[in-house]
Amino acid sequence: MLSYILRRLVATLPVMAIVALFVFSLLYIAPGDPAVVIAGDQASPEDVERIRQSLGLDRPFLIQFGSWVWRILHGDLGTSIFTNLPVSTMIGQRLGPTLSLMIVTLLLTIVVAVPLGVIAAWKAGSFIDRAIMGFAVFGFSLPVFVVGYMLAYIFALRLEWLPVQGYTPLTEGFWPWLENLILPAVALGCVYIALVARITRAAMLEVLQQDYIRTAKAKGLGQGGILFIHALKNAAVPIVTVIGIGIALLIGGAVVTESVFAIPGLGRLTIDAILRRDYPVIQGIVLLFSFVYVLVNLMIDVTYTLVDPRIRY
C-alpha cells in the first residue's frame, strides 16, 4: 500500500506539469495585459510598454515558461505582478479561509446528507422519501449565490443571528471562526448535500435488496443495525466517491460563495488574479488545485480499501 501511495504521488508531478503548461499557454494566448491594468486608465502606451518590459512580459513564451519552471523546481512560486508579494505568501494568506469553508461544508454535508439519503432509501416511495428527494432537487437547482443572498437576508439582516460577511481565523476563537462560516457553508453545501443524499439513497436502495439484508432482517436485527451497520458500509464506495468528487464542486462553488460572503479565500484570489492577468498567482493556484485533486483521488482510492476489504492495490 505504501509503495502504491508513493507511486501515485510521484505520478502527480507530470500531471501537474501538463496542467501548468496548459494553463500557462492558455493565459499567454488569451487577450488582456496585466501591464494595462497596473498602469491605470490614464497611462500612455509608452508607460504600459515600460511596465511590460519591467515585468518581463515582453519576453518570448518559452523563456517565460522556462523561467517559471526553473523557479518552481527551486521551490519558488514567483512573485505577484500586482502586489509584489510572493505567491506562496498570498496563497498561504488565503488557504485558511478556503480550507475552513470546505471543512465545515464537508462536515455539514456528511452529517446531513448521508442520514437523509439513508432515511429516503429506508422509506422509499413514501412521503418522507419524496420530501427528501424534492428538497434534493430544490437544493441542486438553486445557484449558490441565490441561496447565499437568501440566507444573508434572513439570518443576518432580518434575524441578526449571524454576520453577513468576513472571516475570523480559528486562533481568535471557535465561535468567531464558526459564525462567519455557517451561512456560507450552508449556501455552498446545498448542492453538495443534494448530490450526496441522492447518491446515498440510490446506493442504499441497491444494497437493501441484497440477500444478506433479508437474512439480517430474518434474524431479527433492528432497523438501525441493518441500515447503519450492514447496509451503509456496503453502500459506502459510491458515497465516498461522490463525496471525494464533490470536493471539486466545493472548490468551484467556493469562488462564488467567497464573493457573496466576502471571505478572503483562494476562490476570490483566483478570480481577482484571472481578471487582472496576474500570471504567477494563477499558475500557483492551478498547481495547488491540481495537487489537491490528485491527492483527493488518492485518498478516495485508499478509503476504498478501508470500507471494502476486497479491494487491494
Partner: protein, 534 residues
C-alpha cells in the same frame, strides 16, 4: 438573552472542547469605536502610487504619503509640507522650505533630499512632471529643509503640479524608497502622512489596515480636501474589500462596516430607508462619461462621421443607463470640463444641446463617405458603467444605419486592445467606452483625455491642432481671466473636432453609519476629521 447569544454560548461550549480552550478575545467597545471599517471602491491590489495609477491606490496613498501642496475645495494649491516658497521675478527659480518637525513613519525626519528623490521619481511618470523635467535645469537640496528647482523657462502651474490630486500625485517618500525605478514597484511603504500603512496585516483582495501616525503634526488651517489640517480622530482604519455590492450593502446595514465609499445606484434606496445610515454625494466633482473614436481608421477618421454621432446621441439615455431614475445624480454636459468648477464652459457645445436630429446625423454620416463597413465597438462588460454606455451606443449606431461589431469582453482585454493601432479588422478598434473622474477634468493639466496631439495623445490618437494650441494657451495663462478664455476656445475646438464624445456628467453616492461623523465631500475619501462613536 437573545438568540445570537444562545447560539454563541452553545458554540462556545462545543468549541472549548475542540480547540482546547481557545476563545474569542473580548473587543472593548472603545477599541471598536476607534476603528473605522471602510469599504473602498476597489481592491488595493498594489501600493505604489507612482508605479500604478489606479484611483484606489491614490486614495490609500493620500493617507500614508503627504504632498508638498494640497488642492483645496476652491481648486487652489495650498501649502501642505511646505512652509514657504519663493520664486524669482523671471519665474525660473523656485526655492521651497519645508515645515519644521516633519517626520516619516520610521521616525526619520523629512529632508530635502527625500523630496528631491521623490519629485524625480514622480516626474518620470506624471504628464506635468514630464513637462517640468523637459524644462528643468536643476533640482537640488540646498540644506535639510530647503530645496531649489531651477527651470529654463517659467512654469506658472508649478504649485498646481505639486499639489494636484490626480494620479500620480507628487507624494513624498524617504529617499531610499524614492530611488526605486519609477517603472518598478516599491515594497516599503513608509510615508509622512497622517496614517501609517500596516504592511503585516495587508491581505490584497481582502483587507488593508492603516493606523494613526501619532507624530504627525497637522497644519493649523481648517481641512479642505487635501489641504489644511489633517487631524486624525480615530486610531485605525480598516479597508474591507467587498467585491459584491449586495454584501457591502448588507454589511453596512448590519453595522459590520462603517462607511461604503460608493454604493451602486440600485442599492441606494435601500440604504436611504435605513434610519442608521446617512447617504450623500461623495465626490462633488463626479465623473464624465465618454466614448472615444479612433481617428486612425474609417469611418471615424472623418470628422463628419464623428460629428454625426455627436449630433445624434442623447446624453440622457447614457446617464439614465448609469444612474437610473435619480435625476439628482446626472447633468447634461455640452462641455469637456467638470460642471461647477471655475473654468467650466459650454462654449462650442451646441452640438450636444437641443433636440437630437437623427436625420441630419444620417445625412452627415453619408457625406463622410461611410459605406457600411463594420464599426468595432469595444465594451468592458465587467464594468457596469461602460457596459451600460456600450449598449446605448450600439443602439445609437444601429439607428444611424451603421454596421456594429459589438465586442463585449472584460476590462483587461479592452485595456490591452485599445492600445493597438492596427486596423479594426486586424485586432484594432473603432470605439471604446470609459469615464473620467471630474477631478481630472477641471483643467488641461491632469486631463490626458482632452489632448489631441496625434500619436502622443491618449487612445484614439486624436489630432486637432486648434485644441492643442489652446492647451498651450492655458498653460501659459497668467491669470484666471486668461485661463477662462483659453478654456472656452479649447472646448470649442475639441468639440468641433470631436476629440471624444462626452456622454454626460454623473455623480455617485457615499454611505456611512450615523455613528460616524465628519465625512466630508471630496475627490478622494478623506479620513481626517472623521470620528466614530460607539
Amino acid at each position: 438573552m437573545d438568540r445570537r447569544s444562545v447560539l454563541k454560548g452553545l458554540a462556545g461550549a462545543s468549541g472549548l472542547a475542540l480547540t482546547g480552550g481557545l476563545s474569542a478575545p473580548a473587543i472593548a467597545q472603545g477599541a471598536a469605536a476607534r476603528t473605522l471599517r471602510f469599504v473602498p471602491q476597489a481592491n488595493l491590489a498594489n501600493f505604489d502610487p507612482i508605479w500604478g495609477t489606479q484611483y484606489v491606490v491614490r486614495n490609500a496613498a493620500a493617507m500614508v504619503w503627504d504632498t508638498l501642496y494640497g488642492i483645496d475645495s476652491s481648486f487652489q494649491p495650498q501649502r501642505q509640507m511646505v512652509e514657504s516658497e519663493e520664486v524669482t521675478d523671471d519665474g525660473t527659480t523656485w526655492t521651497f522650505k519645508l515645515r519644521p518637525g516633519l517626520k516619516f513613519h520610521d521616525g526619520e525626519p523629512v529632508r530635502s533630499k527625500d523630496v528631491v528623490a521623490s519629485l524625480n521619481r514622480w516626474a518620470a511618470r506624471d504628464p506635468m512632471g514630464l513637462m517640468l523635467k523637459a524644462i528643468q535645469q536643476e533640482l537640488t537640496a540646498v540644506d535639510d529643509r530647503t530645496f531649489k528647482w531651477v527651470l529654463k523657462q517659467p512654469y506658472p502651474k508649478m504649485l498646481f503640479a505639486l499639489g494636484k490630486n490626480n494620479s500620480p500625485c507628487a507624494f513624498i517618500m524617504p529617499e531610499r524608497i524614492a530611488q526605486t525605478d519609477p517603472f518598478k514597484q516599491i515594497s516599503d511603504y513608509v510615508g509622512s502622512g497622517p496614517l501609517k500603512f500596516v504592511k503585516g496585516e495587508w491581505v490584497p483582495g481582502a483587507k488593508a489596515v492603516f493606523e494613526k501616525f501619532t507624530d504627525y503634526v497637522p497644519r493649523q488651517e481648517k481641512p479642505s480636501w487635501l489641504a489644511g489640517g489633517k487631524q486624525v480622530m480615530i486610531d485605525r482604519v480598516e479597508w474591507v474589500i467587498m467585491p459584491d455590492p449586495a454584501t457591502a450593502a448588507a454589511a453596512l446595514q448590519n453595522g459590520e462596516v462603517d462607511w461604503w465609499e460608493n454604493p451602486i445606484a440600485d442599492l441606494v434606496p435601500v440604504l436611504k430607508n435605513n434610519k442608521n445610515i446617512s447617504v450623500d454625494i461623495g465626490d462633488p466633482l463626479g465623473n464624465i462619461g465618454s466614448f472615444r473614436m479612433n481617428f486612425l481608421y474609417p469611418p471615424f477618421n472623418n470628422v463628419k462621421a464623428r460629428r454625426a454621432v455627436l449630433m445624434a446621441l442623447s446624453q440622457e439615455d447614457y446617464m439614465r443607463s448609469i444612474v437610473g431614475d435619480d435625476n439628482s445624480l446626472w447633468k447634461a454636459l455640452p462641455s469637456f470640463f467638470t460642471p461647477d468648477t471655475p473654468l467650466y464652459t459650454e462654449l462650442g457645445g451646441d452640438i450636444l444641446k437641443g433636440k437630437r436630429d437623427l436625420n441630419a446625423a444620417k445625412k452627415l454620416l453619408a457625406e463622410s463617405g461611410y459605406s457600411g463597413e463594420p464599426v468595432t465597438c469595444l465594451v468592458a462588460q465587467d464594468q457596469p458603467i461602460t457596459k451600460a454606455m456600450g449598449d446605448v451606443t450600439a443602439d445609437l449606431l444601429k439607428k444611424l444605419g451603421m454596421n456594429v461589431d459589438f465586442v463585449a469582453t472584460d476590462w483587461g482585454t479592452v485595456g490591452a486592445r485599445r492600445a493597438l493601432k492596427t486596423p479594426p479588422g486586424q485586432g484594432g478598434w473603432n470605439m471604446f467606452h470609459t469615464w473620467h473622474a471630474g477631478a481630472d477634468c477641471v483643467n488641461p493639466a491632469p486631463y490626458t483625455a482632452i489632448r489631441a496631439n496625434g500619436d502622443k495623445a491618449w487612445f484614439g490618437w486624436p489630432t486637432s491642432e486648434a485644441t492643442e494650441k489652446e492647451v498651450t494657451s492655458w498653460f501659459e495663462a497668467k491669470n484666471l481671466d486668461e485661463e477662462k478664455a483659453a478654456i472656452g476656445r479649447l472646448n470649442k475646438a475639441a468639440m468641433d473636432d470631436v476629440v471624444y464624445a462626452p456622454t454626460g456628467f454623473f455623480l455617485s453616492y457615499t454611505a456611512w453609519r450615523k455613528n460616524v461623523s465628519g465625512v466630508a465631500k471630496g475627490p478622494v475619501p478623506l479620513f481626517w476629521g472623521v470620528s466614530k462613536s460607539a
